[in-house]
């Protein structure tokens, strides 16, 4: 292990799923179930057993649309309003109509959802509007359950292979992918009739305040590789300027867990112990309010549980410390923080791309198709907004089923072997240098630049300087980066993804000359929302080797939003100035 091996293999399959976290396993399963004769390959940079955002499980579903509690129409409406109207509703509605089936399927897999005394699903109401939260008392077993299903269906799993670029045929159709082993640097060419990208958020973009490269909100393996690969394959990416920024426990970078603690009566408070958030749905607007309070004389911000009964606090701690980020308890113990006594200091996360919590992702339609024929995307990296874990499962299923059908009707496309040769040279370049800049140093610098120049509030001239500095970092990446072993090579490739994402973040943010989505795209020098010119998607693509952005009209709503409903929401808004 950890020695370079000069190797190259080629495999052909019908459906290639890249990323074995949440959406990926479900996509692979559904593709195989749709047509058991298909060869389905699941490629994973880590190991499917414990990879991705839900490595250690999840404490619940945040957006379960369950009959009797919410309707697909109601959910679609809320997401549209929370996302300032910039939503193609068809994929959202598809998700909302399908997700209850997926819940029941996950239940059959052995994933337990909270039930009341009579054995019915016990949904919790967290915000002012619909009831969507379904806790998962044994959420830590999610990955294990998925893994067994994959084994049972005889899905071919390829662990510890990191995809680096997509392959396309002469006619522009997807033809497969190139991957490199993270422990040997051997190359793998995967030819496929359809490819589904399920590679997670770009969560390693901004630098956490702690300065620890891996102390990110997202699982740091989610370094934006999927965003970069889709970009280089010519796929359109939507609304990247709508960053992901989340409230979290200061320094720990674990989620705030409003969805867990909220139903028990906990809330986000300022230093006076008072509520201050006006927004209903989780949104950039909510994050702006959070940011304003942090910067104000009433800051910082806290998670408040100390008004609850000690037994209730014990119950909450028991959930928070077992599932999703279980080291949280250890963090608080080390600091002597007792939820029963004191409020817990919070902060906001570094920036990233993630449709799971915001709306920045590879543009997809209601069948999870990207703009490249044969290429699909699902989960945190696909553009269906506010999708969370259940969205990843559901849209992964949609992608798998559609890709299986498409693969049936397609011959295996040819690819250009020169592209693979070129890609091997590009990937291995850092291994050919005797010395230079190691990936951890280059990564620190790029991410520090992201914080200094790209994080909101956004300022045009500052972002332009940021672009220059990032271009200098790219020079270093191309001429001086050094990797002494396959593990460092993996990190080098991740830095390359991070840098691509940083460039995209700057470009997309400069393109949309208005402010929208609260803090996510708060441009100080374009402070107003400009519906006349910007009530549309902004799509970013690579055309002739260059990054371009263009507008795309929103598809006509299938669930109409009354003006009154929209203005009712507007009235709750606060200023985007701290």
């Amino acid at each position: 292990m950890d020695d370079f091996i000069d190797g190259l293999s080629e495999v052909a399959c019908d459906v290639l799923v890249i990323g074995g976290g949440t959406a990926g396993p479900m996509a692979a399963l559904k593709a195989k179930q749709k047509n058991p004769a298909l060869n389905v390959v699941l490629l994973e940079k880590a190991n499917v057993k414990r990879s991705g955002a839900i490595s250690m499980g999840m404490d619940g579903l945040n957006n379960a649309v369950v009959p009797g509690y919410a309707t697909p129409e109601q959910y679609t409406k809320e997401i549209t309003i929370a996302n300032d109207g910039i939503v193609d509703q068809a994929p959202v509605f598809k998700y909302a109509s399908r997700c209850y089936d997926i819940i029941q399927e996950l239940d059959r897999f052995g994933i337990r959802f909270q039930r009341n005394a009579n054995g019915d699903y016990d949904l919790k109401k967290v915000h002012h509007l619909g009831t969507y939260v379904l806790p998962m008392p044994n959420g830590e077993t999610v990955k294990k359950a998925l893994y067994r299903q994959l084994k049972r269906e005889r899905i071919l799993i390829s662990n510890r292979f990191m995809a680096t670029r997509l392959l396309t045929a002469k006619d522009g159709r997807i033809a497969g992918a190139v991957a490199v082993n993270t422990r040997t640097s051997e190359f793998l060419v995967l030819r496929a009739k359809a490819v589904i990208l399920c590679m997670g958020a770009a969560g390693r973009l901004g630098l956490p305040h702690s300065g620890y490269l891996f102390g990110t909100y997202e699982n740091p393996t989610n370094s934006g590789d999927g965003y970069a690969m889709a970009y280089h394959a010519g796929a359109a990416l939507a609304n990247l300027e709508c960053y992901q920024i989340n409230p979290l426990i200061k320094d720990y970078n674990g989620p705030a867990c409003a969805y867990v603690a909220g139903p028990f009566g906990a809330y986000t408070a300022n230093s006076e112990g008072k509520r201050f958030i006006e927004s209903d749905y989780w949104s950039g607007q909510m994050m702006q309010e959070f940011y304003n309070e942090l910067q104000s004389g009433k800051g910082p911000v806290f998670l408040k549980l100390n008004h609850l009964h000690p037994d209730t606090v014990g119950e909450i701690a028991d959930i928070l410390h077992r599932v999703e980020r279980p080291s949280r308890g250890r963090f608080h113990t080390a600091r002597g923080t007792d939820y029963r006594e004191t409020m817990i200091e919070m902060h906001i996360s570094e920036i990233g791309f993630c449709s799971g919590h915001s709306a920045s992702g590879v543009f997809v339609d209601e069948y999870a198709r990207t703009t490249v024929p044969g290429l699909y995307a699902a989960g945190d990296m696909a553009s269906v907004p506010h999708n969370y874990m259940l969205g990843a499962f559901t849209n992964g299923a949609v992608a798998g089923e559609h890709a299986a059908e498409a693969a049936q009707e397609t011959d295996l496309p040819d690819y250009d072997p020169d592209v693979v040769r070129f890609e091997r040279t590009r990937v291995l370049a850092p291994t050919r240098r005797e010395d230079g800049i190691p990936p951890n140093q280059l990564e620190y610098k790029v991410r520090r630049l992201v914080n200094d120049y790209l994080q909101p509030p956004k300022v045009t001239s500052r972002m332009r300087i940021g672009q220059q500095r990032l271009a200098e970092a790219r020079q270093d990446l191309e001429t001086a980066l050094v990797a002494r072993n396959p593990h460092e090579l993996m990190r080098s490739l991740e830095v390359s993804s991070i840098l691509d994402c940083a460039d995209m973040a700057a470009h997309a943010s400069l393109y949309r000359t208005e402010s929208r989505w609260g803090l996510y795209h708060n441009r100080i020098d374009h402070p107003e929302k400009d519906d006349e010119n910007w009530c549309c998607h902004a799509l970013l693509r690579k055309v002739d080797g260059r990054m371009i952005s263009e507008k795309r009209a929103i598809q006509p709503y299938i669930v109409p939003i009354e003006t009154e409903e929209r203005t009712a929401y507007e009235r709750l808004r606060v200023s985007n100035q701290a």
């Binding site: 293999s9 059959r108 005394a117 002012h128 084994k151 509520r275 209730t312």
Partner: protein
């Protein structure tokens, strides 16, 4: 340049089975893990044979592994392991028993109901709950007089999951159980019915000594939806625990208790924003015009959640 097979293998069962008889318990233990990961039911026979292993750590691994196979064939092995002298083995086996989903697994689980050890009896009923098997009803009803509160609690779960009107007398009796957690669960369980007798028993539980039971009772009354409970719920607004008062407010809203509007409105003056919010929400549910003035007075409450709820309630009243 080398070529290679990039795919994870599905496990060579024969090779793994060979390691199951290794002299070193650590090796046997790893073999159990590997065997379980093949995820094929063919390996079950070999796993079940390991139930008798001399090493507790190996048996623990078997108890965990059997929980991963969703088939009734594991029930026999797990029933043995739940009686294991080693506590961690027994506890893992109990967890695995609770993963069973096929009602056909009920008979072996029922056999645990008469075991001298309370933990074993409780584990049996815990596993039976999710199976929703009618044949478990009789034994579960009998177990409601078990000396162990843990057993009574799990048996109560079995009964409650079946949601049968004929079990009401037993569920009602359980609202007077000696153990508070059983009483709370019984009160919760009764919310599936609209029967007056159930509502009467739950309303009585609003005067329970333990606040968690009182809170559960208030919540349950909101779900049962019997108007006669309004008086008890209004009395509950004077409870010493705000958690109980909050649930009473919410239940009064669900019951659309017009006669309680004045009492609910009084709670708008509470120091606790959560109570003011709940009161506003209840007044919005009831949507009686007589609440308008009290709500208007809180339109600019210091708490944003209260303000929002007040606004919503006023829209409902019109």
């Amino acid at each position: 340049m080398a070529t290679f097979d990039p795919f994870e293998d599905f496990g060579d069962a024969e090779e793994i089975v060979g390691r199951l008889s290794d002299a070193d318990p650590a090796v046997r233990r790893l073999a159990v893990i590997d065997l379980s990961e093949t995820a094929t039911p063919d390996v079950l026979l070999h796993l079940l044979a390991m139930v008798e292993d001399s090493d507790a750590a190996v048996r623990l691994q078997v108890a965990i592994a059997l929980g991963d196979f969703d088939t009734i064939d594991t029930a026999g092995g797990l029933v043995k392991l739940v009686m294991d002298p080693d506590g961690s083995v027994a506890s893992a086996a109990a967890d695995s028993l609770a993963e069973l989903k096929d009602p056909a697994a009920a008979p072996p689980l029922l056999s645990l109901g008469t075991h001298p050890d309370a933990f074993v009896r409780a584990s049996g009923f815990r596993g039976l709950k999710g199976l929703r098997s009618r044949i478990a009803l009789g034994p579960a009803l009998n177990a409601m007089s078990d000396e162990s509160a843990q057993v009574r609690g799990e048996a109560l779960g079995v009964i409650a999951y079946l949601k049968l009107e004929e079990t009401l007398p037993s569920l009602i009796a359980a609202t007077r159980d000696a153990e508070a957690s059983v009483r709370a669960e019984a009160v919760n369980a009764l919310s599936f019915t609209k029967q007056l007798a159930a509502a009467t028993a739950v309303a009585a539980a609003l005067r329970d000594d333990v606040w968690q039971v009182r809170a559960a009772a208030a919540q349950s009354l909101g779900r049962i939806g019997q108007a006669f409970a309004v008086g008890s719920l209004v009395a509950g607004l004077a409870d010493e625990y705000w958690q109980v008062r909050q649930k009473c407010l919410s239940a009064l809203g669900s019951l659309k208790a017009q006669s309680a509007v004045a009492d609910i409105s009084a709670q708008l003056a509470s120091d606790l924003p959560s109570l003011r919010k709940e009161a506003a929400a209840a007044l919005g549910e009831i949507a009686d015009p007589s609440a308008r003035q009290a709500l208007m007075a809180h339109a600019s409450d210091t708490d944003p959640d209260v303000r929002k709820t007040v606004r919503w309630a006023l829209t409902r009243i019109g």
